[in-house]
């Protein structure tokens, strides 16, 4: 099927592919902020945070190559 013309390399990049995951990260952050401020859940810290941990780790994983590259570049420059 025909695709829209994409002369912008960003739209074929890994980062662009991760945009939906970034949105989900924002959603997770909104939920956490609401839980800490407005919602006042009865649950303790473990019950509140532990279930979210696998998703938080999963959402961070694809960004690790960028972190490694940045760390390497910084080290090479110095």
């Amino acid at each position: 099927m025909p695709r829209p013309p994409t002369s912008n390399p960003f739209t074929t990049s890994r980062a662009f592919r991760l945009l939906p995951a970034l949105l989900l990260t924002a959603m997770l952050a909104i939920a956490v902020i609401l839980e800490l401020t407005v919602l006042e859940p009865a649950a303790g810290v473990v019950e509140l945070w532990l279930p979210k941990l696998p998703l938080a780790v999963i959402l961070v994983l694809p960004w690790l190559p960028y972190v490694r590259r940045h760390t390497r570049d910084t080290r090479d420059r110095s």
Binding site: M1, P2, R3, P4, T6, T11, T12, R14, F16, R17, L18, L19, P20, A21, L23, L24, A26, M27, L28, I30, A31, L34, E35, V38, L39, P41, A43, V46, E47, L48, L50, P51, K52, L53, P54, L55, I58, L59, L61, P62
Partner: protein, 196 residues
Amino acid sequence: MELFLELTTFAFCAVVAAHAWRLRGLRGLSFLFALLVLGFVRENFVVLRDILYGYGDLLTLGAAPILGAVIWGYSLYVAVCWTEVMTGERLDDLLPSPRFLLLVGLFMMALVGFYEPFLDLVDMARWQDGTRKTLGMPWIALIGYPSLTVPFVKLWCRLTRVGSSLLRRTLLSVTVPVLAIAHAWGLAQLKELLSW
């Protein structure tokens, strides 16, 4: 609060639709549309048959909240995009590998830990009394989320390779709603069987 959360989710889904178009063109929009139909049919079936869970006072389309349909579509699309990055495979490639299917299923299971306790906290989703949970996560949801995602991805990848456009659309129009209903019904049966 509910309206804020609903509108935020709808806005994010609109961004995801733009993403699907930009990245994948018409096929991406078709994929997302099929996901929304999947969610819409499934959630209406759940509400009409009064199985698994109910909803709070939310904006509805048919019998079920729009949020129910939208969140399935949005979540599955995010799961697929994430898995494509992690595996290097693309949904347009040959049929997805077992590794792809495993990762997309694991992503959906991880979503249970976010969605279910939060939806319970804001009283937007209400599981049946007696639903077994740990840390706010219904056990049955840990099966339910991936068990809809993986068959759908396989179905999509198979059917989009059908040569005839008309046949492809016809098959999708029939199989996606059937999958949605079969999944909801099957999960309810399993929940009863296991007393979960």
